[in-house]
Symmetry: C2
Amino acid sequence: MPRPKSLSHSDIAGAALAVMDRDGLPALSMRTVATQLGVGTMSLYRYVKDREELERHVVELVLGAVDPVVPAEKSWREQITRIVERFRKAVIAHPATVPLFMAHRHISPSVRRCSEELLRALTRAGFQGKPRVIALRMLVSYVSGALQAQHLGALDGQGTVVLASLSPDDYPLLAATARSALQVDPAKEFFGGLEIVLDGLAQHLAGKKPR
Amino acid sequence: MPRPKSLSHSDIAGAALAVMDRDGLPALSMRTVATQLGVGTMSLYRYVKDREELERHVVELVLGAVDPVVPAEKSWREQITRIVERFRKAVIAHPATVPLFMAHRHISPSVRRCSEELLRALTRAGFQGKPRVIALRMLVSYVSGALQAQHLGALDGQGTVVLASLSPDDYPLLAATARSALQVDPAKEFFGGLEIVLDGLAQHLAGKKPR
DNA sequence: CGTCAATAGAGTACGATGTACGCCTAAAGT
DNA sequence: ACTTTAGGCGTACATCGTACTCTATTGACG
């Protein structure tokens, strides 16, 4: 077997991540990654099938930092909160990768591992069968949506600032709310929303009707 | 004032939507839209600044179908459900536009109108100040995330099928859950998640602690 | 220690995309 | 009928992903 590979998947993913951390997602291209590595553009294709696979490796590199295993003795709420917290931390550490994570999460092993552990917590809480399916999907929908919202908001220089300057005649409540929103810390907002979601789950466990 | 415009923004958005409905998002390009309209590619630039603006027009065309106004005498839960229901219906009607909606929702007037009405319902429910901010953001995060999840799942021929075939050794709960998930209708799943979210909101209104 | 052949590396090239530029021309107002 | 303004669009270019092809390296074997 002649000529061993000189790069690893992590090398490539790392280079791509470096490019994105430095110049953002639009700067990510086969050529920029190759340059970052000091190799020819086409050499990358010895390691990845196409750009999409490269993106998946970046996602895995970022999400690989998440340890989804959580103390078994904690309450299910704490378990879920911990997992989501770590997940958020990993994604937030590389904001430019948010769109990639959104695009590839449904086939990411790391996401699967997290889902598995979330399911463990949900099962421990008492969820089974279809309700458990709905509970999990609801959780990941919220987390994904919230992470993306924060990323999008951060793009155009705090999107809420724009909202706050809306004419109160056209959007009385929205304009007022946006002004309050300016004073809400993103993390507080994220975990505040998570608490509500968890309350909803707890409700479904207690009795059927919310009241 | 010589030579009136022969196209309207709706014409262009309509053509773009036609292309996307027929051939999907990847087929959307300045050239395909121009061809669809029977005009030269560069003519489009008399009407839109760039591709991004064209995409925004598509989003507005799709979301413009949403009537966010809802009967004032209904309960806040019903009001929110109605708004979200209509929103989902409009987006689902043109699945290929989901990524566009995700990318541009933070500056879409239609989304603002919906947000305004959601806020009205939340206010009626009793939310004020920062909790109201968190409630709204949580709602739209869930809705966005869930819509995107459904779209992504539909892409690779029901992503859950893949999940269901995972080795139960590596992901015991996930594999089992995916099998249940195959029998859950997407709409049931979406509104089931919404109910949980609404329960969480109701909980925060009732007393602080969930119990 | 030379020889071989398989494989990594990479240059070139092609089709597609978004769009800047500038010419041509249609049509509204005088 | 003429002028003038703005719409229509052909051309051209930078950039992208990537198919094809050639070169050169290097581990294994005699």
